[in-house]
């Protein structure tokens, strides 16, 4: 019967996670990222609580493995599972970005897998509580069937555990090699605006406008083959500082790959008067000293 093997599966699982929490060197560090810090006030208490849960898991595991036909260890496991589910639900609702601290080697936001693990512990506990015989009798009596059930349980645990994620890597790689990448190739799409900004930021025009430009990209649009990029800036002259728009126009198809030295049209518009301010940006930024007038 499956429930006769449940104490063995749950016992081994809880022994592993309990020992990792209890003796793990990084338990304190992991506790610091859980919602326990906020609930208990500080990280020392959170680490203590996490270790205490580890000790509880280890004790329940010992009960499950040594006295599998008793009802108490099974009920205790189910209570642990229910407790984990409740804790995860609370943490997810109040602080979704915290780590779950579930298996002590495992850091990461609370996701579906954390919940599935907690529910499995609950289900395993219920099954263990209904165990009629001991797991060693079950294995001795029906070795083939038992092995099959244990292998299936191990696969299930592996599937919901992040710790063995790297086991899946070669499988995922193979799948991509066989079936190709599902990611878009982007064929037919226009040059992304970010690529135009990247090109602009590597240009002499950008270097020359550096003393005026203050904002990051404010607005952009395409018009008859040109891509216009608008930035906000401040122009200082004898009348004081004035807010301006700095406009760059470049070929909408150009990127750093296709045109390493792009031609960029630059103009500076006074935001109040809407008039263009005529500036020699190269001279202003010190990139070119003006030629002496003859």
């Amino acid at each position: 019967m499956i429930q006769d093997l449940a104490p063995l599966v749950c016992g081994l699982l809880l022994a592993a996670t309990g020992a990792a929490k209890l003796f793990g060197r990084r338990t304190a560090q992991i506790a610091a990222n859980t919602v326990l810090v906020r609930v208990l006030g500080n990280r020392h208490r959170a680490a203590f609580a996490l270790r205490a849960v580890g000790a509880l898991e280890a004790a329940v595991a010992a009960g499950l493995l040594a006295a599998p036909s008793a009802v108490v260890p099974g009920v205790a496991t189910a209570v642990l599972g229910a407790g984990f589910t409740g804790y995860l639900g609370y943490a997810r609702a109040t602080a979704p970005e915290t780590s779950c601290g579930c298996s002590a080697r495992d850091e990461g936001p609370i996701g579906t897998r954390s919940f599935v693990r907690a529910v499995l512990v609950l289900a395993g506990g219920v099954a263990a509580a209904f165990a009629g015989g001991t797991w060693w009798h079950e294995i001795a009596g029906r070795p083939g069937w038992s092995l099959l059930v244990l292998a299936a349980a191990a696969a299930l645990v592996a599937a919901v555990s992040r710790d063995v994620d790297r086991v899946w890597l070669p499988v995922r790689r193979l799948r991509l090699r066989l079936f190709g990448t599902p990611l878009p190739t982007g064929s037919g799409r226009r040059v992304p605006v970010e690529a135009s900004v990247e090109l602009l930021e590597s240009s002499l025009a950008w270097q020359a406008s550096a003393p005026i430009v203050r904002s990051a990209l404010l607005d952009h649009w395409d018009d008859e083959g040109w891509r216009v990029l608008r930035f906000a800036g401040v122009h200082q002259d004898e009348r004081g500082a004035r807010p301006v728009s700095v406009l760059f126009a470049l070929d909408e198809e150009a990127t750093i790959d296709s045109s390493p030295s792009p031609a960029v049209r630059v103009s500076v518009i006074d935001d109040d008067t809407q008039e263009a301010i005529l500036l020699d940006l190269l001279a202003l930024s010190g990139l070119r000293t003006p030629l002496p007038l003859v």
């Binding site: 970005e97 995922r172 878009p184 982007g186 990051a216 296709s258 630059v266 263009a276």
Partner: protein
């Protein structure tokens, strides 16, 4: 309603006007044409010694706790509080260049600006929910990348946003072609964190070795 009062129409007219202005501006071409400053020579030029305590621009970091008109109330991660004033000249980034309408309470932000006498920061630029994570690609699906980052292999789901997510391969230009991303590669992921489900919308993925 006349055209003059339709905001979309007005925005179009203003863009047309600005396009004309932009195209009427001076054309600046790269170094070869103008004999720009040799970059390596610039290294030899002395720069003024600066005191590390003095910063020219103001900076703020934290979570937005309230939005009152054009002012963002921000709770810094170290208990500090900031009031960020948005203006017509403030650039706003949230996955892409956007407007103040896209900002929500609960978003994280970094802001650069100028300290004002009333204690607010007049923002030049605001980056909302922006993250830049050094990751390893662990899995690839049609609409997302499974990533891990940090020394503890923290798991992150990176969402691929149609018409937005771009990739760069070893310093090449940003391209909408994501098909060369491979499992096991190192990647720098610049994107916008989504507080509601703790995933990241990818703006660009820069792939390394």
């Amino acid at each position: 309603m006349t055209d003059r009062h339709d905001p979309a129409r007005r925005g179009f007219d203003r863009r047309r006007f600005l396009t004309t202005a932009a195209l009427g501006g001076a054309t600046i071409v790269g170094a070869s044409a103008l004999g720009g400053l040799d970059a390596d020579a610039a290294f030899a030029a002395p720069i003024p010694s600066l005191d590390p305590a003095i910063a020219k621009s103001a900076f703020a970091e934290g979570r937005i706790t309230a939005i009152k008109g054009s002012v963002l109330e921000v709770a810094g991660s170290y208990g500090d509080r900031h009031l960020i004033q948005l203006t017509n000249a403030t650039s706003i980034w949230k996955l892409r260049t956007t407007t103040a309408d896209a900002i929500r309470t609960g978003d994280g932000l970094y802001a650069r600006g100028v300290d004002m006498p009333d204690g607010t920061i007049a923002a030049d630029a605001v980056w909302v929910n922006i993250v830049n994570l050094f990751c390893t690609v662990r899995g690839i699906a049609k609409d997302r990348l499974h990533l891990t980052h940090g020394s503890a292999d923290h798991e992150v789901v990176g969402r691929i946003v149609p018409e937005t997510t771009t990739a760069s391969y070893l310093g090449g230009a940003l391209t909408p072609d994501l098909s060369r991303v491979r499992i096991g590669q190192s990647a720098q992921v610049l994107g916008a964190w989504r507080p509601e489900d703790d995933t990241v919308d990818i703006a660009r993925v820069t792939v390394g070795h």
